[in-house]
């Protein structure tokens, strides 16, 4: 096992940890905004770590550029949708209280 | 058990789910989704047999057919959506109400 492989495995495990944290946050956090927080931050960080690990493993510059762009686009899309979801929820909550538990 | 066997069994289950959904669900959109799931089952069967018949590479003919099939599914799905929305606009119905 070379040093690169060790680093790859460590990066992957860290990424997995953040994904687990994100999922647990989505499942356990009490309200929408904290869930959004858990999801869009922890998961994207986890994806970043996994992307770094895979870029190291694949070890081709062209692939590394592509992987970086994958991460970057995911960041863009998920931050935009996070903003939209949060704003939507806030606008919904403003007019009256107690709408959160509507089923 | 090979990977393609798992997927070919899955394809049969998906097709059955789709066909059940077409008959059992009432809302138009769900019916459309059910047809697309049915199509997905068929495509999965094709691709899994392509994997079975692979030599140096997987059999390209089913792959090409599946790509064509997906396009056709998109066109028909879009048309079905247009019809459903038009019916909703004109009558306010969201499903076929034959019982009444």
């Amino acid at each position: 096992m070379t040093i690169y492989e060790v680093i790859t495995v460590i990066l992957l495990l860290v990424g997995c940890f953040f994904f687990l944290a994100g999922t647990l946050g989505v499942l356990r956090f009490p309200d929408l905004f904290s869930r959004l927080h858990a999801l869009t931050k922890a998961d994207n960080l986890g994806l970043g770590f996994i992307a770094a690990g895979m870029a190291l493993h694949i070890a081709s510059p062209w692939a590394a550029v592509k992987i970086f762009f994958i991460w970057f686009f995911t960041l863009l899309a998920s931050s935009t949708s996070c903003y939209l979801i949060a704003r939507f929820q806030r606008e919904q909550d403003q007019p009256g209280k107690g709408k959160e538990d509507r089923e | 058990m090979e990977a393609y066997q798992i997927y070919s069994l899955t394809s049969a289950v998906l097709f059955a789910i789709g066909i059940g959904g077409v008959f059992a669900s009432k809302h138009f959109i769900k019916k459309i989704i059910a047809t697309i799931i049915m199509g997905g089952g068929v495509f999965l069967a094709f691709v899994s047999f392509a994997e079975r018949d692979a030599l140096n590479f997987a059999d390209p003919v089913p792959h090409a057919l599946v790509i064509t099939g997906i396009v056709v599914a998109v066109a028909s799905g879009a048309f079905a959506l247009a019809l459903a929305r038009r019916i909703y606009q004109l009558t306010g119905e969201e499903s076929f109400n034959n019982e009444k």
């Binding site: 992957l12 997995c16 499942l27 999801l39 998961d43 493993h57 694949i58 592509k66 686009f73 | -």
Partner: protein
């Protein structure tokens, strides 16, 4: 090395499966949307890991396609909400 990749991808798929609870439970529409976001990010990670495992660089193109088109969904979503709000029908 391969075992690590397999374990990681299984772990990520299990993450997706766990996230399904939230789609089911809700309680608000926004929660469900957010969970689809989770699927997207996790699916991307699975694709990356599989690309390394199978040594198939073309999988990166699949991931980029997903990514680039995700923005379309986001904007489509925005339009849905706007129209719903105009009709004062805030429950998607």
């Amino acid at each position: 090395m391969d075992v690590v990749f397999i374990i990681v991808s299984i772990f990520l798929l299990l993450n997706i499966a766990l996230g399904l609870f939230r789609i089911w439970r809700g309680p608000t529409v926004a929660d469900r949307l957010l969970t689809t976001q989770l699927f997207g990010t996790t699916g991307m990670a699975v694709l990356l890991v599989l690309a390394g495992y199978l040594q198939e660089l073309t999988l990166l193109n699949v991931a980029i396609t997903f990514n680039v088109l995700a923005i379309l969904l986001v904007i489509g979503l925005f339009q849905v909400w706007k129209t719903r709000k105009e009709r004062s029908d805030d429950n998607i």
